[in-house]
């Protein structure tokens, strides 16, 4: 059993791309996963909007109203205030998208798309764009640039504080991406390494492999529950931090 092959098959991306001449269109497993999740979410919500008269439709309507209230009261109202209501669709979409993609990785034979740094970087860029858009819309370009420096600082401190604040905002957006990526991939890697431990020890000594089997299986079950918790938590933390950063940019004055 080749360990490198096993790890690369289960965790990394595979490119089934289309190559026409010198033009290469990369169609990878992770992009197919994102596409399928988006299509399923879109069609289920479209069905909910148009066919919400029956029993299942009523239940899902109540659930989606509860969900939007949860996002609005917990995330948008405390941090963005009343004028932040225009940002509510973005946060609802973000939370349910990240949650669906994280949970889709827990189904058997499916890959977690957010365990790819490109996917999380794209999500963080969308959130960064939302932060900059919020700042520009509420304060204009000059106000946005002046908003980095708090209003009471002496003039000799400004050349020190301004680059620090700009770099800090950029780093916060990057850390959003890395946090989600690292949490998702570490969960799958621990699960995989526990399985491989049994095989590696079994190759060295058959009884060592058999002995470590039961503890490894219990640890696997525990890690699966932990991964489910981490899926929910990381989706919530991503949305929460985007709301906090947008609120900090919108409410500087």
């Amino acid at each position: 059993m080749n360990i490198t092959e096993t790890i690369s098959h289960h965790i990394l991306d595979h490119d089934w791309g289309i190559t026409v001449g010198s033009f290469h269109l990369p169609i990878t497993t992770h992009s197919v996963t994102i596409f399928c999740v988006s299509v399923i979410l879109f069609f289920s919500l479209w069905w909910l909007v148009n066919f919400h008269r029956g029993k299942a439709g009523r239940l899902l309507t109540v659930l989606s109203q509860e969900y939007v209230s949860f996002i609005r009261n917990g995330l948008v109202k405390p941090y963005l205030g009343e004028e932040g209501r225009q940002f509510l669709p973005y946060f609802c979409t973000l939370f349910i998208f990240i949650l669906s993609v994280n949970l889709a990785g827990m189904l058997p034979n499916m890959k977690t798309a957010t365990s790819n740094i490109s996917v999380t970087a794209a999500l963080a860029l969308c959130s960064g764009g939302m932060i900059i858009y919020g700042g520009l819309k509420f304060h204009g370009v000059i106000g946005f640039i002046k908003g980095f420096v708090p209003s009471g600082t002496p003039a000799w401190l400004v050349p020190l504080i301004f680059p620090l604040e700009v770099v800090s905002t950029l780093i916060k957006v990057c850390v959003l991406a890395i946090r989600l990526f690292a949490n998702m991939i570490s969960g799958h890697m621990v699960l995989l390494c526990l399985l491989l431990l049994v095989f590696i020890l079994g190759k060295m000594n058959l009884y060592a492999g058999a002995g470590v089997l039961l503890p490894a299986m219990f640890l696997e079950i525990f890690m699966t529950f932990l991964e489910l918790l981490v899926a929910f938590l990381q989706a919530y933390v991503f949305t929460l931090l985007t709301a906090i950063f947008t609120g900090a940019v919108v409410h500087t004055h």
Binding site: V175, I178, R179, F181, A182, N183, S186, L233, Q234, Y236, V237, L240, L241
Partner: protein, 75 residues
């Protein structure tokens, strides 16, 4: 010692120190949450939510260190 050996030593040490810092931080968060809940049991739900959020942020910082250790091995 060649680079190939030093890489693994550095990654292992880095991961160990990172987990040490995370353990300390999470222990402090948990202890503060337990103390707060013991003082005022009605605020238990709020304290629990705050504790989980702060723990997730700390895990973010930990994972940053872990990613750098992985990069040290792969590159």
């Amino acid at each position: 010692m060649e680079l190939a050996v030093l890489k693994y030593i550095a990654a292992g040490l880095g991961a160990g120190i990172t987990v040490f810092g995370a353990g300390l931080g999470l222990g402090k968060i948990g202890s503060a949450a337990l103390e707060g809940t013991a003082r005022q049991p009605e605020a238990g739900g709020d304290i629990r939510s705050t504790m989980i959020i702060v723990a997730a942020l700390l895990e973010g910082a930990t994972m940053l260190g872990l990613v750098i250790c992985l990069l040290a091995i792969i590159m």
